[in-house]
Amino acid sequence: MSTEGGSVVPTTGELKTAPDGSILGLHEIRKSFGELVVLDGVELTIKRGEVVCILGPSGSGKSTLLRCVNLLSPPDSGRIVLEGEEITGKGTAGLDFVRQRVGMVFQQFNLFPLKTALENVTLAPETVLGRSEGECRKRGEELLTRVGMADKMHEYPDRLSGGQQQRVAIARALAMDPHVMLFDEVTSALDPELVKEVLDVMRELADEGMTMMVVTHEIGFAREAAHRVVFMDGGVVVEDGPPSQVLDNPQQERTKSFLGLVLEH
């Protein structure tokens, strides 16, 4: 992995924290789809630079929680506070505020198929931030180099492996200079041999101090890279603590049985 191109974590003064030092606060987050209660009062506070891995059985609302954070699917109730500003219940103003500060990477990559890797990375800064083509291009090349895609910048997604596509997707999210990054099972759709190259990029990002919320089944990654591990089940946070505690010495029955199942394999 190259380290050219400087830090991707914004160091400018615009990055603010709440009085309690948190960059992101989720309070009493609730969300239902029809009768199905998916989030049932989630509480979670994340400090600047913290890497939080979220574990939990399938269907426990992990993706829904991430999608609430950037208001892709807004919570029914509860408050989300980003950098000291409440973003819930603010309409489009909240949307713009959060989407420009929170980047997201998806399980299915979701690269734009008609655009090259570089165009994928430059599209949003050009259209949303109105930056010049040259500036976006330079920044895009920098970011693609950082994720090890320097030699594939002009390839279309269908010519890239899953691991390569996912690294481009990470660069694409970073191009908006996010203060927080959300990762939703970003290695789950990858062939096993491609998982490491993506996790390496994420580890590097974590080392640089990016605030990250990572939904993952990679216990190894959680153990090494996370400052905190959160176990979710039934729409609530069941257990929350340092990896050594949650992974090696879980207090709750539900966490124990889940880890038992995951670690068996």
Partner: protein
Amino acid sequence: MEFIREYYFDFNVMSDYMSPILDGFWLTLKLSILGGIFSLIWGLVLAVLRQLPGKPLAPVRWLTIGYIDVFRGIPLLIVLLLVSGGLSTLAAPIGGDVLPDFIGKPTWFGETSPFWYGVISLTITYGAYMAEVYRAGIESVPGGQMEAARSLGMSHSQSMRHVIVPQAVRRVIPPLLNDFIALMKDTSLVSILGAAEVVYVGRQIQSDIFNGSGLVMGAILFLIVTIPLARLVDYMIGRQQARYERGIA
């Protein structure tokens, strides 16, 4: 047998009337191309209106759906008669002279009013058909594309414009071409208003000399355009199929 040859394939008739038949076909082409272009644009507008997000815009969506249902469900011939009758009447004293003549009885770019009534009616009707094709195309773009675009801070319309519509349009080129073929054939209905397109000319010949060869000549001219188009559609669908099977696009 002899009758068939003489009535349908009299090459003397065809060559004697070649010039008016070709003039007629030229008008057919102009109707098709203008009607086709306007339908493509109008259809896309309708499809996007139909796809607008949010509660406050629900009335726009319902109106658009209503429009599409109505004009897909009634014969083009009725639309032609209502458009020509309505516009010309509104520009006449009997209709209260509501419309100025240059709108009610348009003769833009030296073409006749029936020609423009035809273009307008084709656009109204085929816009509705094409809107449905675009919609299918927009809906066939995986939801993750819109989510990815929105998560990057792009607005709904920026996402549509830069991400969704370009993908949708590629997928819908073959079905749109099919609609274009249908539209081209339907230009023949404009003859009822007196636009001297190829079928109109063929019917004149038929009633003047009791011979159908002019109409057959017209049919052949249609086929010269429509068969290659149909082959092109097949080719493009085959190529897309191959791309899907390779797991992309």
